[in-house]
């Protein structure tokens, strides 16, 4: 039996970046619509079961009710059963349960933060991230139908990881203790509280550590990308320090916002190599765009990049493989 998991974050796409930039708004009813297209496309290619994460908007129930009412639901559609915390922990728990249940692919709808949460429990199961957040680098903008087909292909073919990229990941240590992870960037800012979580003020940013970066993305990784491009296939990351001097670059730090910044130092970080500093002030480390880790003066902060992140499905590649295997052929 082929199954997929679907995690749709009801909280994505509503943060303060709608005020400080020109970020997209995607409401939860549109997330329901995207999920419907994922389920229909996946069942069309032969997926038997789709498992949803429960959430406060009850996206899974809305999808089930609608598709049943329309008489088009053929696959079994189930919801995981656990008590909601309405936090990122729901995504971590749901991902782990889906992996335990043996789904062939987990589709994640949300922003970089949602994918980061799923990455904590995804293991070797292929993951397909769709953007319904804001300044997203990790999840891609993708039509739900294509996502459903790609997820189905990942669940149905023999070696789906051949059509995936094994992503890099940053692990963050404070005073020797592992504190958290990031998939794209870890950004050190002058803040000392999480507040509205997002980061947007370049004057408060001190350091940026990235697994990959390109000026074609949005957010603080794009600052590093404007300085030097690092691809997802490169076996290194990059750490830059911002200041008032050094090479000036123009970078899209938020939707519709190109800002000049100065890179005072830059250092390539090989896989497994440590990049560290001792903080002389209190600060926050934003992980994939959200302020998460508080640092006190005197704390030693260490970043390590390894290729131990999720296996990210490449939709075009896996759909091409599906074509080679005749998955679209009819009798």
């Amino acid at each position: 039996m082929a199954s997929i998991g679907i995690i749709a974050n009801p909280a994505s796409g509503k943060d303060i970046r709608r005020l400080v930039s020109y970020a997209t708004t995607i409401d939860n009813n549109e997330k329901v619509n995207i999920c419907k297209r994922i389920v229909l496309a996946a069942q069309g290619l032969g997926v038997d079961e789709a498992l949803f994460m429960p959430d406060t908007f009850m996206i899974g129930y809305a999808v089930k009710d609608s598709l049943e009412d329309d008489g088009v639901l053929e696959a079994t559609l189930g919801l995981l059963d656990f008590e909601l915390e309405a936090t990122m922990e729901d995504t971590v728990l749901a991902t782990g349960l889906m992996v335990e249940r043996g789904v062939g692919c987990v589709v994640v709808l949300g922003g970089d933060g949602t994918s980061r949460a799923a990455a904590k429990a995804i293991g070797d199961t292929p993951m397909l991230s769709i953007s319904t957040g804001t300044n997203n680098v990790y999840p891609a903008m993708m039509e739900g139908t294509v996502a459903g087909m790609a997820a189905a292909a990942a669940a149905l073919i023999e070696e789906p990881r051949e059509c995936c990229i094994h992503d890099k990941k940053i692990t963050i240590f404070v005073n020797g203790q592992m504190r958290d992870i990031a998939l794209i960037d870890a950004v050190v800012s002058d803040d000392f509280y999480a507040g509205a979580k997002a980061i947007w003020d370049p004057e408060r940013i001190r350091r940026i550590v990235v697994t990959r970066c390109h000026p074609a993305t949005i957010g603080f990784s794009a600052v590093a990308g404007a300085y030097e491009i690092v691809e997802d296939t490169d076996d290194f990351g990059l750490a830059i320090t911002l200041g008032t001097e050094g090479r000036g670059v123009l970078a899209p730090i938020a939707a519709g916002v190109l800002t000049p910044v100065h890179v005072s130092q830059a250092k390539k970080i090989a896989l497994g190599e440590e990049y560290s500093f001792v903080s002389d002030t209190r600060c926050m480390i934003a992980l994939d765009g959200e302020r998460e880790v508080r640092v006190q003066p005197g704390d030693e902060v260490r970043f390590v990049i390894n290729r131990d992140g999720p296996w990210r499905v490449q939709p075009r590649k896996i759909l091409s493989r599906a074509a080679e295997l005749g998955m679209y052929d009819i009798e």
């Binding site: 943060d15 005020l19 708004t25 409401d27 939860n28 509205a196």
Partner: protein, 328 residues
């Protein structure tokens, strides 16, 4: 965007003032010392102080039936508020309005309001006034999730949007409209989603974290002052008591109540301030003691005030304009 230590302390003082005022009001109501109805702001203290920290004295706010917190945050006088709750002659409304009608024009407080959804229209009026007069004043409209199903909410967002009025719509989503939970009274989870329908930016923040509220409010106020129009800021929070004092709130699941009590903004913020060196524990204790004294003084003041004379029962109740029209 940066917030100073002084501002963070000021927010704590106001939050503590609200918490103690409301806890005292609950006690006094139970003892029969407060007539009429009181709807308490307990659990929602992180919102109004953080929003009002972004305002100037000459800015406006509109409030709701659950208005004590808004009025205290905008600088309302505790003595006059308590006297009004006691129904005394020197209260804000000469003892005839009670909890739900407190206003202070000099402080830009355009009134608590017993009509759900009425504040939205008043806020648009204040915003339009500022725009016509060419000032850069703004108006914050506080309201609950229940009122976002009223026509006035939608009409006001539409008007504020097309006229780019300097209004900040702050939804205190406490998840209940009287006894009806949000998932039973609307098909959305985030009131912020409703902004898009009127081309207004809508954001959702943790309403039990004053720093999260402050950051969103700061940006929204800056937008309004710069002539960029209204913003919808949704603050997720929880009403710790019933809809009104005396409501046992049996419709609220115990697990839900317990989970939200874990997120009580008061200890959470006090701990943050101490852990990060913004205030010492001794400073926090001193604020608590100072506020306790303020509340004691307010009760003593209110208790000593006269009850309005019977013959003044309808004086100031109806508008003179209405009387003049009636006499014609």
């Amino acid at each position: 965007m940066a917030i100073s230590n002084e501002q963070m302390k000021d927010m704590y003082v106001k939050m503590r003032r609200i918490r103690d005022f409301e806890s005292t009001a609950a006690k006094l109501f139970a003892e029969g010392k407060i007539p009429g109805f009181v709807h308490l702001y307990l659990g929602e203290e992180a919102i109004a102080p953080a929003v009002c920290e972004c305002l100037r004295d000459d800015d406006f706010i509109t409030s709701t039936h659950r208005g004590h917190g808004h009025i205290i945050a905008k600088g309302g006088d505790l003595n006059l508020m308590m006297a009004e709750l006691f129904g005394r002659e020197t209260g804000y409304c000469k003892g005839k309005g009670g909890s739900m009608h407190i206003a202070d024009r000099d402080k830009g407080i355009l009134g608590a309001n017993g009509i759900v959804g009425a504040g939205h229209c008043i806020a648009c009026g204040a915003g339009l006034s500022a725009k016509i007069r060419g000032t850069d004043q703004v108006c914050v409209c506080f309201f609950g999730d229940g009122s976002t199903n009223q026509g006035t909410f939608h009409e006001s967002l539409n008007m504020a949007s097309i006229w780019k009025l300097p209004v900040i719509f702050v939804c205190e989503n406490n998840h209940y409209g009287i006894s009806m939970s949000q998932d039973r009274h609307q098909a959305i989870k985030d009131v912020a989603d409703r902004g898009a329908a009127y081309n207004i930016p809508g954001v959702s923040v943790d309403g039990n974290d004053p720093l999260a509220v402050y950051e969103a409010a700061q940006e929204a106020v800056a937008r309004a002052r710069a002539g960029k129009g209204p913003t919808l800021v949704e603050c997720k929070t929880y009403r710790q008591h019933g809809h009104f004092e005396g409501d046992p709130a049996i419709y609220k699941p115990k697990e839900e109540q317990a989970a939200w009590m874990e997120k009580d903004p008061m200890p959470r913020y006090a701990n943050f301030l101490v852990e990060n060196g913004v205030m010492t524990q001794e400073e926090v204790d001193a604020v608590d003691a100072q506020v306790a004294k303020e509340i004691e003084d307010a009760i003593a003041f209110a208790d000593a005030q006269p009850i309005p004379a019977v013959e003044t029962a309808v004086v100031d109740v109806y508008s003179d304009i209405v009387e003049e029209v009636r006499d014609r």
